[in-house]
Amino acid sequence: MVNTITDTPPVVAPPPVPATRTRRPRRRRLVRYLLRFVAVGYVAALVAMPVVVVTWRVIDQGWSVFWEAITAPEAIHAYKVTAQVAGCAVLINAVFGVGMAILLARYRFPGRTLLNVLIDVPISVSPIIVGLALVLAFGWTTGWFGSELQSAGIQVIFSMPGMVLATAFVSLPLVLREVLPVLEEEGIEQEQAARSLGANAPQRLWRITLPTIRWALAYGVVLTLARSVGEFGAVRVVSGDVTGQTQTLTLVVDQRAEQFEPGAYQLSVLLIAMSAICIVAISLIRPRGER
């Protein structure tokens, strides 16, 4: 009895009637185990099993196949493209995320509520729609600004800028949603104190605001990076999926899997490993940010 209570989360027991005293905890324990089983089973079926199957396939095919797949020229090119696209998207979203968070936390202006809602749209809209919308807006033949962009010689769609735009779009709110609550909680007094001590706006940003949000920002950046590296739908539409040119890692995986070429599982495992590193990084950052 005593042990079962200490090794489980505390339950506030109602002042017990002697007759039910012995039966109730047992029934509760049963319910608790059942719930745990459901929760673990759910995660196992949805997350762990596919990961294990993919990893097993890779191990089964052997180290040399793995090495060959991840050092293939297409793969190496895809690393570069992915790094560039994700890097740019992270940079853009870090700068704009912090800027917008400061705007939303510190100022009241007409349209503020609308802006606050719009920022979450990228999370709820399917990436493929984002991709199509970008093609409609920036494509040379279809786009609203297509002819102007073409005459200026700027290619957005089927090239880097479009891929960065698409990736930045789908990961837009991640930095902002981490930073905004911290700014709101800390309030404005530290900045006002800095102001009365002679600090101008850039000095206040650098010496007070950024140090205050640094863990939230780091967390948001890691989330954005993970999301950007894994982005597929929107990038697929805007990139044109040209082998050796505009293929990110996820697009290479897709191509290999579609055409039954070797390497899809190996590169998938690589992506899984990157996500795992991001998750570890997040869990290392989080407790410090909450302290």
């Binding site: 006002q192 102001r195 009365s196 001590l197 002679g198």
Partner: protein, 319 residues
């Protein structure tokens, strides 16, 4: 004149925070802005400090027009109710902040910061983070930080409001002594009349966006301009058609001309004092007496006495 704020008005939406207020603070004085919360006193302080812009009016600091000078160039020390400590910086770096912004030489900064930390008795905590200090220590750090830049005026917004009673009292005495040493023009906001009466050279009573009265603590206590000031600075009771302080009522055992006849309803003893609740001439005054006075008059419920204001008492007609 240390601070001259003239014709200051400020609205927040439809709420009038300040309505054509004139404030003059002499150089080197310690002035309290006293009033109920929401009365506009904090807004006035923030306007002087440049943290808020007035809708109308002008601010002069040390004779220099400061209305359009941004807060960071006014050279004003500001202390906040909730300390506004820079949480990520050590106590030393907090105090050094203003000097670092002004790009003073490292050696000078170190010397000056340690001087100030010594002054506020925090030198041994120089390397700690604000989160490792108590509330009172944090506020002393905030004060040292504000003083580090040698401000022309020091502004404190409810500086002791977040502290418990004992610490508040200590810091109050300490602020007074510090001010006597430094002689910097100081304005502090408070809603605690005892704090204002005890610490300041001059009190400005602010209510509903207007200044009700300005004067020394004694002037305000003894000669309140109206019933609001009288009521805000201390207890008030009604005797007949006059408002008077409960300790300024004379209780007489025999009929006297000019005194109102009253009946004792209730006696309450609180430690050394006795509160007598009476009825006299359609009013229900209460009188504050010492135990000796009450015994000498052998007061008891039902006894008839005669009441009049003491001859030098401040009284106001009931409006």
């Amino acid at each position: 004149m240390g601070i001259a704020a003239h014709g200051i008005s400020k609205r927040f939406g439809s709420f009038v925070a300040l309505d054509d207020v004139d404030l003059d603070v002499e150089t080197g004085q310690l002035t309290a802005l006293l009033g109920p919360s929401g009365g506009g006193k904090s807004t006035l302080l923030r306007i002087i400090g440049g943290l808020e812009d007035p809708d109308a009016g002008s601010v002069h600091i040390d004779g220099v027009e400061a209305t359009d000078i941004p807060a960071q160039r006014r050279n004003v020390g500001f202390v906040f109710q909730h300390y506004a400590a820079f949480k990520h910086l050590s106590v030393f770096r907090n105090v050094a902040f203003g000097l670092e912004i002004r790009r003073r030489p490292k050696a000078e900064i170190r010397r000056r910061v340690h001087e100030l930390l010594d002054l506020v008795h925090l030198d041994q905590f120089a390397d700690r983070l604000p989160s490792q200090l108590s509330g009172g220590q944090r506020q002393r750090m905030a004060l040292a930080r504000a003083l580090a830049v040698e401000p022309k005026v020091l502004l404190l917004d409810e500086p002791f409001g977040a502290l418990d009673t004992k610490v508040r009292k200590e810091l109050r005495d300490w602020l007074r002594r510090l001010h006597d040493e430094m002689q910097v023009t100081t304005v502090f906001v408070t809603h605690d009349q005892e704090e204002a009466l005890e610490v300041s050279d001059e009190i400005v009573v602010i209510n509903n966006g207007r200044i009700e009265q300005t004067g020394s603590p004694n002037e305000l206590y003894d000669h309140p301009a109206n019933d609001f000031v009288m009521g805000f600075l201390g207890p008030v009771t009604r005797l007949g058609e006059r408002l008077v302080r409960p300790h300024d009522i004379e209780v007489l055992g025999a009929e006297t001309t000019g005194a109102l006849r009253g009946e004792v309803l209730r006696l309450v003893r609180v430690g050394f004092e006795v509160r007598a609740e009476l009825r006299a001439d359609g009013s229900d005054p209460w009188v504050q007496l010492t135990r000796g006075q009450a015994d000498a008059l052998s007061l008891e419920p039902g006894r008839t006495v005669w009441l009049r204001p003491a001859h030098d008492a401040a009284t106001l007609a009931v409006t």
